[in-house]
Amino acid sequence: MTGQSETGTGAPAMPAAKSAASRRRAAFIELDAVSKTFSTRDRSSTLAVDGVDLDIGASEFVSLLGPSGCGKSTLLSIIAGLIQPTSGEARIEGKPVLAPYTNTGIVFQSDLLLDWRTVLGNVLIQFEMRGLKTAPHREQARALIGSVGLADFERKYPWELSGGMRQRVAICRALIHDPPLLLMDEPFGALDALTRAQLQIDLQSIWQSTRKTVVFVTHSIEEAVFLSDRVIVMTPRPGRVRDILEIDLPRPRGLDVREHPAFTEAILHVNHLFQDMGVIRA
């Protein structure tokens, strides 16, 4: 594991590895000096994201980690093209993102399932919203629902499912059209600890078999380290990149990876960073 200090004032020294970015294959997502200012009701303005430079490689699993309100969700929305940066530019596959990027699947903290549709109908909405026929994708949707352990539930309605099952359906909806990019905004934030651990393991195996590029927003240090190839540690508002950690742990990572020295070292490192930034006070 290597740490790479980007804004680097007073961070606990970690061995620098400048070659990390250059070792990586061509960037899939590029953020180029991205800043976002929100104007508030009383005409003052809030700087949410400040000058973020970041390259994310194809098939890479990257987490944006930071305290609440640090602009990590804003950054994700900018990548998705749902909001435009005030200055700077986001590019996907070299093309500037100027409108909602549709070749992606998004999972939010809230599952956003439609109450009037069955599990199968909720997955197939992905095609309907794109103006495509659902019939040719029905079997494929069934298979995907089965693969996340919900085979017996495809005819059920969302209110008949537990929180973890609902979020599995939301993940199926984000994957069914096989997009190269998966954007996840604290997807497991509302789940209990056991369900959360299970879904983290399941997400990892989905990622390993599909090799999609994943941008994963979280404020859980453990979750970020457990899942990611790289963890982008962000500062409190305005959000800047404070540090980038390469997580060099073997995959598939199981529950016992938490005892791996590299794992505990990474957690400790981020904890120190947060303490340093005043996010956690000792």
């Binding site: 929305s77 998705a80 093209g81 749902l82 909602p100 990027y101 549709t102 992606t104 998004i106 939010f108 809230s110 956003l112 439609l114 109450d115 009037w116 909405i125 992905q126 309907e128 919203m129 794109r130 103006g131 309605y157 209110w159």
Partner: protein, 256 residues
């Protein structure tokens, strides 16, 4: 153990208690019939005048239905327009709220002047009084969608009309039905008001006639039919609601 008794028996039982108390009050205070007839004379009057009451009932029912359907047909699209277009919202919403401060019942005499003594002024009052709650509840329903849901839809490349049809509108249905239920009882009030002010037909006319003749038994008989009509109307909308939104929390059957 109470749950094992047929719900129909419960209903009949509670009505039996009401009638018994009613009869007891009439007997105990020795009420004269022109003030408070007992249940017996009321049902005698109802049976004796059944054909006459029924012919007036059809008239009133048609008025209520026409006013209600017109209100729904105009209110729901208007609410959609207000939600979709901020410009039209600014244009339509303030005058609409301002006109709502006029008590609609007070307009009934004006409508007689404008539309004569036919069915039109009655339908107009029913329409006006039922209109507002449907507009307001539809607006609330259409607006209450999670903004993240709209973001999700945009990331799926959906055009606004599709987002509206597949997400916003179904999401708003429970609120729309809430407005329709309130409007259904108000439409009854509106139609009756129209009939009170000037009519030679309908249950409202019959009520005024019965009161004028101190025929209190007939008045009560008409009231019974009127509340049965209002109830039937309300349950009709409940049935439609159950068909339209079986998925909503209010429609789920709860295990006891």
């Amino acid at each position: 153990m109470y749950a094992r008794i047929n719900p129909l028996l419960w209903t009949m039982g509670s009505f039996a208690i009401v009638f018994a108390v009613w009869e007891a009050i009439v007997w105990f205070f020795a009420m004269p019939q022109y003030l408070l007839p007992g249940p017996g004379p009321v049902f005698v009057s109802l049976a004796g005048n059944f054909a006459a009451i029924l012919s007036q009932t059809w008239w009133t029912a048609a008025t209520i239905l026409a006013g209600f359907i017109l209100a729904a047909a105009f209110a729901v699209p208007l609410a959609m327009v207000i939600v979709i277009s901020p410009l039209l919202e600014r244009l339509i919403y303030p005058p609409m709220v301002a006109t709502q401060s006029i008590p609609k019942i007070a307009l009934a005499p004006l409508f007689i002047v404008w539309f004569g003594f036919g069915v039109v002024p009655k339908v107009a009052v029913a329409f006006l009084i039922a209109f507002f709650p449907i507009v307001i509840d539809t607006i609330v329903g259409l607006r209450s969608i999670d903004p993240a849901m709209l973001q999700l839809a945009r990331s799926m490349g959906a055009p606004p009309y599709r987002i509206f049809l597949k997400m916003r509108l179904p999401h708003a249905l429970p609120a729309i039905f809430g407005g329709l239920k309130v409007a259904s009882s108000l439409a009854v009030v509106g139609a009756l008001t129209g009939e009170f002010v000037g009519s030679d037909k309908g249950l409202g006319y019959l009520l005024v006639q019965a009161a004028g003749n101190l025929n209190t038994a007939l008045l009560f008989a008409t009231l019974v039919v009127l509340s049965a009509l209002a109830m039937a109307f309300f349950y009709l909308i409940e049935v439609l609601e159950r068909i339209a939104i079986p998925w909503h929390a209010s429609q789920r059957t709860h295990p006891h």
